[in-house]
Amino acid sequence: MAETDQAVVEAENPLLEGLRLRRRPDPCALVIFGASGDLTTRKLFPAIYSLAVRRLLPERFAIVGIARTEESDEDFRQRMREAVEEHSRDELREDVWQELAAGMRYVTSEFDDPGGWERLTRALNALDAERGTNGNRVYYLAVPPGAIANLADELGKRRETEGWTRLVVEKPFGRDRASATDLNERIHCHFSEREIFRIDHYLGKETVQNMLALRFANGIFEPIWNRQFVDHVQITVAESIGIEDRAEFYEQAGAIRDIFQNHLLQLLALTAMEPPIDFTADSVRNEKVKVLRSMQTPGPSTVVRGQYGRGFVEGEEVAGYREEPRVAPDSMTETFVAAELYVDNWRWADTPFYVRVGKRLPRRETTIAIHFKRAPHPPFEELAAEGLRPNVLIVQVQPDEGVSLAIGAKVPGQGMTIRTVHMDFLYGGAFRTGLPEAYERLILDTLLGDATLFTRADEVDEQWALVDAIVAAWQRDRPGFPNYDAGTWGPPSAEELLARAGRAWRRN
């Protein structure tokens, strides 16, 4: 039945009213390109399995994996079973697994082998007949970025005439504005924007979505969420790990393309955006893109880059970036970026957004901290209030997902001594169902066709425009790398960025 006919029948069905029905996705086949890769093993399959456990997958569903590695259907099932056992948040249940595995197929092929495409088409047609997947397709491109454009071309040329098609594209999307435009144009030749789902997995995180709940479901925050009351905002995306074995990728990308261009700018957009009129894909993304468009291009004095040298992380001595395997000994790739950014609109004019991302920092944490202005005139003696800092609202994205508010409170006892205390709301403490993994939400949304939590073409474009401007300035100088020790919060110039305005980064 076509989607609209189904909707009419459902609208007329009096028995559906009040049944807390989660919308179940239409029957479809999910085709994963890059099925032997790291992402499929560690993230995609464990997430698909968790959706199966919760009965959120379509009733009629199939998965086809494709990669070069030679494998039979049975090998693929076995390997994915092991992946689920190792990486899923749910215990493997035999009945759930068997049901999922029955719809799994594997096609061994080079992406440019016409024979492989034919085998894929045959496999999908057979699944339509056997499992009733109705010609509906989700193509998930878990492949190296260079392979995306050609795959989109091939898929476009072979579009099914029946059913709907969706294309899921992993990050990074391009490596600068020009290549992203080019990639968008190539994909748009065959797919409309509604059919394209660009992943930024940060948007799948519960705490990132909670930012919207916090801002727009609570009357008390929005009135003070502006330049009148906010002194500045700090956004930190810190990793304690190094580059693991991703040297080839990282040497090309650096921190600015790996994290800043996507995750960080998305967090900033969600923090700064105006309330959307509803929670549909376009309303939310329209507001985010307005923020990205209002951002000033930062000058060289307001951007700091760094690269880690040797140091200690969690008590262990670790190598400097240039000593990592397959990294050039004179590499100029940045592993740290900090910047002072401005959103030029009525809400935020002149309010700095200090952002920093980096590797080999003292610990893994992603936080958004709203630093409010000081109380105008605390009526206490200076000494009494020396432990008092301005209020800070901290949205802890990971780990320890939650929200915390720093407030001043009187220390019990004689006199009037004030100290800052934190009121914590821990997600896990209030809602004790385990938090779903970001990929669960995102895969489910692609199956449902809901693009709210995916990046639209114009957002990507604006994000790259900003990054291009920053990177262009970098061509003109050669900082003395390495300029921070592993296990520290970046180069001293990152501190100076705030210190010159009398501010400091949050410390814990």
């Binding site: 029948v9 007329e12 069905n13 009096p14 028995l15 559906l16 009213e17 009040g18 049944l19 807390r20 029905l21 009965r55 780990p399 320890d400 914590d424 709301f425 821990l426 896990g428 403490g429 209030a430 004790r432 169902t433 385990g434």
Partner: protein, 295 residues
């Protein structure tokens, strides 16, 4: 979520001020834990009225519930026999370890034995112990004594009454009496939740089911009556109902054709109650089913 520790306090013949002090002391003890004070994230007060015959069953469900709903549970055990007029209280503050975090989160269970005349004015005993500004869910075990003091009083302070009409003897006659409460308190019925997976299957039979005239249900009497009421109400038809008793719903036949079993496993009693504690507001479809169940 793993239980980290339980702190307890007990008192016989106590006053409510003693209970308040004991709660504060138990909380204070946690502050000195090496992991820092336990977190308290409160979402509701869960009030339970437990006549003697339900005592064991309640303990079972509470065990499954505490770690899901971090809140205060107040369990009231009435003993109306007039040997003594007194309140005996036992408090357990249960701390659970949060995954990946060096912090515990605590839930309080306050068990109150109401002896003699103290069982007559339970609302006045409970009111000082409710969490401010948060919803109060009243779980009533067994068939509520409609129109009697304790029920009337506790409904007055509750936002939602949670019953399980499979625990009732007087069916379907009790349904209209329950319906009389609908304008005063939102009601949920665990018997109704149990029918949900079957209602989904039945809804899938639309539009064929629109002309239904005979429904057979093998399962608890309450669930059969509610399903009948639901279909009568929703389809606006007179439907004849045949019931065959069983522990859970095992078969449904519509106009002589057996309905497919719903997928997945039925939920546990703790899960069912846990789901009910997440619903706020009135369930109009349930209310309609209850009204039509007694027809």
């Amino acid at each position: 979520m793993p239980l980290a520790h339980v702190d307890r306090w007990q008192g016989r013949n106590v006053r409510l001020a003693d209970v308040g002090r004991a709660l504060a002391q138990l909380r204070d003890r946690d502050v000195h834990d090496e992991d820092g004070p336990d977190l308290r994230t409160s979402v509701l007060t869960h009030l339970v009225w437990v006549p003697e015959r339900w005592r064991a069953a309640v303990e079972e469900v509470l065990k499954g519930l505490d770690e899901r709903h971090p809140s205060r549970a107040i369990v009231l055990y009435p003993h109306p026999e007039p040997e003594r007029d007194a309140i005996d209280v036992e408090i357990a503050v249960e701390s659970y370890r949060l995954k990946g975090v060096c912090r515990h989160v605590s839930a309080e269970v306050i068990r109150i034995d109401l002896h003699g005349r103290r069982a007559e004015a339970p609302a006045s005993i409970v009111s000082p112990l409710l969490m401010h500004d948060l919803p109060v869910f009243l779980r009533w075990r067994g068939q509520p004594p409609f129109g009697e003091g304790p029920l009337e009083q506790l409904i007055g302070i509750a936002d939602r009454l949670v019953v399980d009409s499979t625990e009732w003897d007087d069916l379907p006659a009790a349904y209209p009496r329950l319906a009389n409460l609908f304008d005063r308190v939102a009601v949920s019925d665990i018997a109704w939740s149990r029918t949900q997976r079957w209602r989904r299957v039945l809804a899938g039979l639309w539009p064929g089911i629109a002309e239904l005239s005979e429904l057979r249900v093998r399962g608890p009497r309450a669930t059969g009556l509610l399903l009948g009421g639901w279909l009568r109400g929703r389809l606006g038809r007179d439907i004849s109902l045949a019931l065959e008793p069983d522990e859970t719903i095992t078969a449904i036949v519509v106009d002589g054709i057996p309905v497919q079993q719903p997928p997945g496993e039925p939920k546990t009693p703790s899960d069912l109650l846990s789901d009910e504690l997440e619903i706020y507001g009135r369930d109009r479809i349930y209310e309609e089913a209850v009204r039509a169940a007694a027809l």
